[in-house]
Symmetry: C2
Subunit: 650 residues, 2 copies
């Protein structure tokens, strides 16, 4: 393992100004945060009521009433606060927003119990049942989101109040859980607090938080399953009816984490757990744990991941199924799961300095995560299919989880705020730094300032990467730094050219997928131009759902066909992969987009009447031109069919 991993460049040191991303990032502050604030306060007329702030007011003694919402309802406030924190950090302080956040933090402080406990569900509704159902109670999960939000707010504002609140709670958790006799030897049913405790350790320097995270990881799945022991205890009470028939794989508690070889169970739980495993592997320089992370990463990304970076292919229970089982129409592929995949991948990239991880981070962010949000920021996908026929997305059928139209909000509203916090903290995925090097993982136009080899360096990245594959990085400092600039060469790039100033580098130095520019001068202009031609991509033939089909990609972007461009019945289309693809920049389409045209054929409906369902009439085809647009933009025009994988003419 590398002794020194890459670390994030602080968000306030990064200014993003990118044609592709700005429109989304802008939405966070302008649309999503105000909308979510209204939702948390039950002020949105046609959205499911959240009751979130009300719960805190009740717990704080400022309002009367019963707890309402899910057992993890508090996390919506936490994720909103975290997104606010990232926004203040990355877009600059905003008095009005900060005031709202401060007031909310004050309220949270009042809702905290004397002993530090913080959870409105248990405080209001089940005060005697604290920590009695770790499988379903989500207390540690909720604590994790509170901690993450508090650390982000502290980093953004320097204000300690929220950090102190969660530290008191974390201290209580440290007193409650651990290997010592008399403490609870359980672990969370939904991992999340582990990675949050690592963040809290890094913010406060208190090693006990790190040790507790390690304890949760090390004890998971060891010996007789804790959750089954728990069920036999007196105060245990089932919370979710769908947990009947629970299997420990669901929460990755079927085996000690170091012995797990395949990505199992609920996908979000899995990637949150793996993220913490990666953190701890680094902090404790634990090679065995890092090996487990690599094994799980490989299984997940080489056998169980959609080409869009979606994971969790079962519509029921949002879970992994089996290798190569990647149905396109009935899958789950939760937006949050792809966010978690990016979190895990970013950690692995930072620890290993291997570009293969950032390839997947880019895939998840540019495709599934962005598909999760409408271009106006007002509606969201929870589920991200790769093929949709709106007519059969019917309630109370096995397709009921698939929505052909983004939804305003959700009863379980994890995805919208999760997307918001990801967009607001995008900088963490762009840059990574160690003592002597700056790594660039995503080619997003931005500028930053940081120390490279003790030399303060200003970095200006001008990227038209998605349009033409070209990126220019300017480095300016007072003196030569002897440092290194590492530029990720995406795995999908077939050829690329690099210039250092006017000089083309003929034999570039590549290390684990990064182009290394060493011995940086005081002023540098590095230009890289990658092949960005639209291409056909195929799935391993073991993926039964994609056999005989092709997908169009361009750079990191997966493309799809939409009914709007191609007429109805997308299943009747064939693509001719022997014919060249044509690219067209369309300034007026979807905010400016490179659309791609392919030659193909369409099965005709001639010779079939409405009365005929089956007969001896072989298909007849006509030539057509297919038009594809980026998957992340699907469903932003008229509601209709969509398909990523297109049957090939063989």
């Amino acid at each position: 393992m590398e002794k020194e991993k890459l670390t994030d460049v602080p968000l306030h040191q990064i200014q993003i100004k990118d044609a592709f991303w700005d429109k989304y990032i802008r939405l966070v502050k302008d649309v999503i945060l105000p909308y979510q604030w209204n939702t948390l306060n039950d002020n949105v007329k046609d959205a499911a009521p959240s009751h979130c702030i009300k719960n805190f007011k009740i717990a704080a003694g400022e309002a009367e009433g019963d707890f309402e919402g899910a057992v993890f309802q508090d996390t919506d406030v936490a994720k909103w606060l975290e997104a606010v924190a990232f926004t203040l950090d990355s877009s600059g302080r905003d008095e009005k927003l900060e005031k709202l956040a401060d007031e909310t933090i004050d309220l949270i402080g009042k809702a905290q119990c004397e002993d530090g406990y913080l959870n409105t569900y248990f405080t209001i509704k089940e005060p005697d049942r604290r920590w009695t159902n770790l499988k379903e109670g989500h207390e540690l999960y909720t604590a994790g989101h509170m901690i993450e939000a508090a650390v982000a707010y502290y980093n953004a504002t320097g204000k300690r109040k929220f950090l102190d609140i969660v530290s008191r709670f974390a201290d209580l958790i440290c007193e409650t859980f651990g290997p010592e006799e008399g403490k609870c030897h359980g672990y969370p049913g939904h991992p999340e607090v582990e990675l949050a405790l690592v963040k809290l350790y890094r913010a406060t320097g208190q090693k006990r938080y790190l040790d507790l995270a390690k304890y949760f990881i090390d004890t998971r799945g060891v010996g007789e399953n804790y959750f089954f022991q728990e069920e036999k205890k007196e105060k245990y009470q089932q919370i979710f009816p769908e947990f009947a028939g629970y299997v420990p794989e669901y929460s990755q508690s079927h085996l000690p984490v170091r012995e797990q070889k395949t990505a199992e169970g609920h996908a979000v739980r899995a990637v949150y757990l793996y993220s913490a495993m990666a953190d701890l592997a680094y902090e404790y320089q634990d090679e065995t744990l890092l090996d487990a992370c690599k094994t799980l990463w490989n299984n997940m990304t080489e056998k169980r991941m959609y080409i869009t970076g979606g994971i969790g292919s079962s519509g029921l229970l949002e879970r992994f199924t089996t290798d190569y089982d990647l149905p396109n129409d009935r899958n789950y592929s939760e937006s949050c799961a792809s966010i978690g995949l990016a979190m895990f991948g970013n950690r692995m990239a930072q620890i290993t300095k291997d570009a293969k991880y950032a390839d997947i981070v880019e895939k998840a962010l540019y495709n599934t995560v962005l598909a999760g949000i409408a271009m106006d920021g007002k509606s969201f996908f929870y589920v991200n299919p790769l093929e949709v026929w709106p007519d059969n997305c019917i309630e109370r059928t096995s397709m009921e989880h698939v929505k052909p139209v983004r939804q305003k909000w959700f009863g379980v509203a994890c995805c919208p705020p999760n997307i918001a916090r990801t967009l607001a903290s995008l900088g963490q995925y762009i840059y990574g730094a160690d003592e002597n090097s700056l790594y660039i993982n995503l080619y997003i136009s931005s500028q930053t300032k940081l120390l490279i080899g003790e030399t303060e360096t200003e970095v200006i990245m001008e990227s038209s990467f998605l349009k033409d594959g070209t990126v220019t990085v300017h480095l300016e400092s007072e003196k030569a730094s002897k440092g290194t600039l590492a530029l990720r060469i995406p795995g999908y790039t077939k050829e690329f050219t690099v210039w250092r100033g006017v000089q083309r580098i003929e034999t570039p130095l590549i290390k684990k997928g990064y182009l290394m520019i060493t011995d940086l001068a005081a002023s540098e202009e590095i230009k890289i131009s990658c092949d960005m031609k639209a291409r056909f991509v195929y799935a391993n033939p073991k993926v039964r759902a994609d056999e005989g089909k092709a997908c169009i990609m361009r750079g990191p972007l997966v493309y799809c066909l939409e009914e709007t461009d191609n007429g109805e019945n997308l299943s009747s289309l064939y693509v001719d992969t022997k014919e060249a693809l044509t690219e067209n920049w369309e300034e007026q389409l979807l905010g400016g987009v490179m659309s791609v045209e392919a030659k193909g054929k369409r099965i005709l409906e001639d010779h079939w009447t409405a009365e005929e369902l089956y007969k001896e009439q072989p298909p007849e085809l006509k030539n057509v031109t297919l038009k594809a647009v980026p998957y992340c933009y699907w469903g932003n025009r008229k509601t209709g069919e969509m398909a990523v994988w297109i049957r090939q003419l063989i």
Copy 2:
């Protein structure tokens, strides 16, 4: 409407001796009835306990304990008794079996309440809640099965006891339900009693039973939905958690039945309802009701039916979805639904004397219904997919309802006894008669004796239809009858030849799909030879799941590929529909079967490593020969993949 519909030839007048069917029919008496008897008595070690007989003993005061099982548990006994009755009727009386049945009927009599009420769930468990939840309570459904069994037993044995028991119950139902003030104006949540009441009317001549059936049909879906009114009443209590979010379409109570244009909701409920509608349309010469039957039939068979005769394409709630939504791998297509389709189709065939209905009856029986039972009679499919990959049939995922292996029994055990009673009464689907004609719908070797135009006629049908398309029908009587023999010309037959004696009929008289042989002589030998070549069949291109795919059929039999014959990964196969199919009679295979070979190609896995999931590697193919076997036999050898629809080389 025809003034005189076709009627069944009584089962005891039909002797079946058929190479294809005998092996199944034999199983009913030899395997299924004894096995089910043991199940009903909880004497099968590794099967889910039924508790059925125990419930009756408790209700009869002969045993202590609580009711166990589903609210409709009694129907398992009813269906067993009905299958026993049909077996006694068709295979000849059997003292031992009849004794078991008589004892069971005695027990049922003792379990009947003084007022005639008969239902162990409500008698034991909820005596105060009779008729308070028609939506979920299944009381009328259960009554229906009891009545059907009793009528069958009376027809088979002439014994009245069971008929009297159910008549007393039916009288109570007549007193309880109806349009009069003070009576309950509800109708069954699960249709079934309607068609049973028609049978009871036909057996007893009591018109009140027919009128009540008509009332149930006429009041269904009229005005404010009865089931929603019911929920507001004091004694109402929800029974099934999955009924939360109930929509009236589920039980076809969303509209008056005459206004329903599309087959909606739970598929078994639908076809049981439609069967009763057909019965009543005839009995009351109600053209509007018959038109509704035709509209629903057409929607169902022209837009919502699998090529195997399976119906109900949603894995959740066993229901219809939308036109052309016929996914092959995640569908439900319950065995019972195809039985109900055959019941409805047989009624429509009898009323309209149009062969198109019998085409579908044949399709359902020869494919889905037979697939529902193992060739050894010991295990059953509830769900009948058209494509299976055993690896992804995983519990607690959206594929959990799909089983790649037939199951011994089920918690809700409707399908096994339903298949048994269908096999035991197969004769009803072979022949139909009116005053002057004998109609032959299924070419199953058998003999019968009946009046054709007042002349007692002996009919001997020798069929090798499934092997070579040939059937010979011998008619022997004392004198010429002036009657008609109507032979169904299957819709899939492209050409056929008919001989009357040694004379080939050059211009056969065809009426609504039947070949009419008129003015029957005292002795006739009619031979018909239909084209029986294996053929490729295609789906309407609106069926997205089947586009670009072909299915192999031969006569009524749908064929499928199995992993046993074709290796793993059936999705990698293409069939060349321009190449001829080859037929091979394999005496040793699956009890003697015509297998079919096709030319095709297979996508190779060369050039792909286990680490590669997506890349720019177009598929490479090699030539292969595909081998198909009848779908009804799938899963009788090694467990493996199966596929009905095969991608075509375009």
